[in-house]
Symmetry: C2
Subunit: 336 residues, 2 copies
C-alpha cells in the first residue's frame, strides 16, 4: 500500500485522459495565447514567451476547456476565456518570481534573472491587462465579475503569504486560507466560468466551482509537500525554495506542532532565516521524514481531491467526468 491507501500494483492515476480529451480545444487556446501575447514592443513577447513556452502544464485553461465540454457548451467563448485564465496565472508567476527573488521557474532561469525585475513586473501587467481584454471580447459581465474577484483574492492571498513569511506561529487554518486565495480561487474561477457562458444552473456553476477549488487546494498542498519530499524529483522551481524563503507550509506547520523542543528550536531558527544552508535543508527534510508530515500533507490533499471528485457527482457519468476525476487523483499522486 502507498501512503494514499492505493495498492502498489494498482494503475497510477494519470492526467493523460484529460490531456487527450482537451487536446483539440487546447490547440485553439494556445493559438489565442500566442496571438495575444504579441506586441510591437519586442521585449514583451520575448519575456512572456520565455515563461509561456517553458513547458507549463496549462492546467488552469485546460480546466476551462474541460468544464465547457462537461456541460455540453459549444459556443467557442471558452477558448478566449481559457487564454485569459492562463494570462492571469502567467502574470502572477512573473510577479511571484520578482517577489520571491526566484532563480528558477519550471527548471529554467526565471524571467527576472534574464530580463530583470522591471521588465518582469511590467510584462506581468501587460498580460494581466490583456486577460481583461480577452474577457471583454467573450462578452459576459458575470465572467468578468468572477475573474476580477478571483484576481483580487489572488493578490490578497499573495500579500497574506508575504505577511506570514518567516512567522513560525502561522496556523494551519491561516495557511489553508492563504492557499485557498493564492491558488484555489483561480482554479475555481477557471471551472465556473464555463458553466456561466454555457448558461447552466447555479447548482452546476457551484459544482464546477467546488471541483476547481478543492482541486486547487489539493494541488498546492502537494506542491508544498514535494518541496520537502526526499523521494520526489526536483521540481521546476529550486528544491528547498520554500524553506529558504521561510514560508510556513503544511509539512513544516505539522512538523513544528509535533516536534521535540530541539526540533521546535530548529524550526524557529530556520523559518527566521538563520538556518538556510544545504545541510539545514537536509536536516529539515530528515525531521519532516521522522514525523511523516509529507505523507500527512499528501493525505490531506487526497481528502480534498475526493471532495473535488464528489462535487462532480451531479454531472452524468461520461468520459470527461472520469477524466476530471482521474486528474484530481493524479494531482495528489504526482511526485514532480
Amino acid at each position: 500500500m502507498t501512503e494514499l491507501g492505493v495498492p502498489m500494483d494498482a494503475p497510477q492515476p494519470s492526467i493523460d485522459p484529460l490531456l487527450a480529451l482537451t487536446a483539440k480545444g487546447m490547440d485553439e487556446v494556445n493559438a489565442v495565447i500566442l496571438s495575444r501575447m504579441e506586441s510591437e514592443i519586442p521585449l514583451i513577447p520575448q519575456l512572456a514567451g520565455h515563461l509561456i513556452s517553458s513547458g507549463g502544464k496549462r492546467l488552469r485553461p485546460m480546466l476551462t476547456v474541460a468544464a465547457a465540454e462537461l456541460v455540453g457548451y459549444t459556443g467557442g467563448a471558452q477558448y478566449a476565456l481559457a487564454a485569459a485564465v492562463e494570462f492571469i496565472h502567467t502574470a502572477t508567476l512573473l510577479h511571484d518570481d520578482v517577489v520571491d527573488g526566484s532563480d528558477l521557474r519550471r527548471g529554467k532561469a526565471a524571467a527576472n534573472i534574464i530580463y530583470g525585475n522591471p521588465a518582469t513586473v511590467l510584462v506581468g501587467d501587460y498580460l494581466f491587462s490583456r486577460s481583461f481584454e480577452l474577457m471583454v471580447e467573450a462578452g459576459s459581465l458575470r465572467v468578468l465579475d468572477i475573474l476580477s474577484r478571483a484576481s483580487s483574492i489572488i493578490a490578497e492571498g499573495e500579500v497574506d503569504q508575504l505577511t506570514a513569511q518567516r512567522k513560525i506561529e502561522t496556523s494551519e487554518e491561516h495557511y489553508l486560507s492563504i492557499i485557498a486565495a493564492k491558488t484555489a480561487a483561480l482554479f475555481a474561477a477557471a471551472c465556473r466560468i464555463s458553466a456561466v457562458v454555457a448558461g447552466r444552473s447555479d447548482a452546476e456553476e457551484q459544482a464546477l466551482d467546488d471541483y476547481g477549488r478543492y482541486l486547487g487546494v489539493a494541488f498546492q498542498l502537494v506542491d508544498d509537500a514535494i518541496d520537502y519530499d526526499s523521494e520526489a524529483a526536483e521540481m521546476g522551481k529550486g528544491k528547498g525554495d520554500d524553506f529558504r524563503d521561510g514560508k510556513m507550509t503544511l509539512p513544516v506547520i505539522l512538523a513544528y506542532a509535533a516536534g521535540t523542543e530541539d526540533e521546535k528550536q530548529f524550526w524557529r531558527d530556520a523559518i527566521a532565516g538563520f538556518r538556510a544552508e544545504d545541510e539545514d535543508l537536509a536536516e529539515a527534510i530528515a525531521i519532516i521524514a521522522r514525523h511523516g508530515t509529507v505523507e500527512a500533507t499528501r493525505q490531506r490533499a487526497a481528502d480534498y481531491a475526493q471532495k473535488a471528485i464528489d462535487a462532480l457527482s451531479i454531472f452524468p457519468a461520461g468520459e470527461m467526468r472520469s477524466a476530471l476525476e482521474e486528474a484530481a487523483l493524479f494531482s495528489v499522486a504526482r511526485r514532480y
Copy 2:
C-alpha cells in the same frame, strides 16, 4: 512676456474652477476609493493608503467626474469608474516605483522604500484587480473594453520606455509615442468613459477622448520639462530622477540634437550612466538652459493644450467647459 507668449500681468490659469465644480463629485469618488482599498490583510490598506493619501491631485478621476457633468450625465456610475481610473493610476505608480527604484514619490518616501518591492508589486496588483471589479459593477462592457485596452497600452508604453532607457538615439517621435501610451492613454480613457455611460454620440466620445489625450501629452511634457527647469520648484519625485535614470525626455532630445560636439559627448556619457553626480545634473541643466529646450518643451505642451481646448468646441459653452479649458492651460503653466 512669459515663454508662452502670455503677458506677465495676465491672470495665471488656474485649476481652481475645475476643483470647485468637481468637489462634490470627488467626495463621492474618494469615499469609493477608501472603501475599496480595504482588505482583511492589513498591509494592503496601509501600503495603498500611503500613496493614496499622499496628496496626489487625483486629476484623472476628476476628469471622469468633469466629463460626466459636461455631457449632463446624472446616473451615478461615474464615481465608481473614476475610482477605477485612480486605482489603475495608483497601481502603475506603485509598479513604476519598483521599476525605477524610486526613493521619493510626491515628496514622501516611496512605498517600495518603506514596504519593500514585493509588497509594493502585490498591492499594485490588488488595486488593479479592484479597479476591474469596480468597472464590472458599473455594468458597461464598452467601458471595460476602453479601460482594459488603456491598461495594456500603458504597460506597453512602460516597457517601451524601459527599452529606450539609456539610449541616446531615441527619437522625438519615439518619445512622443511612449508618453502617448504611458500617460495620455489613461487621460483619454478617463474622459471618454463618461460619454459612454451617458450614452452620448460617437462625436462626443471622440471629443472627450481627444481632450484627455492631448491634455495627457501636455501634462507629461511639462512633467519632463520641470525635471530640468532651473526655475521650477522641486517636484514630488526627486529632481533629476529622469537624468540619473538615463531617460530620454524631450528637453534632452532637443538639447542633444542642437548640441555642440562636446555637448553631444556629454549627453552620450550622461544617458549611458557615466555622468550621474550632482555636478553632472547641474551641467545638464546649464546646457538645456543654453539651448532653451525647457521652454521649447513647454511650447510644445502649450500646442497640445490648445488642441485639447479645441476638442471641446463641440460642447456648448458653460462653466464646466471653461473650467476644463483653463485646466489645460494650467497644466502647461504649472512649475511643480
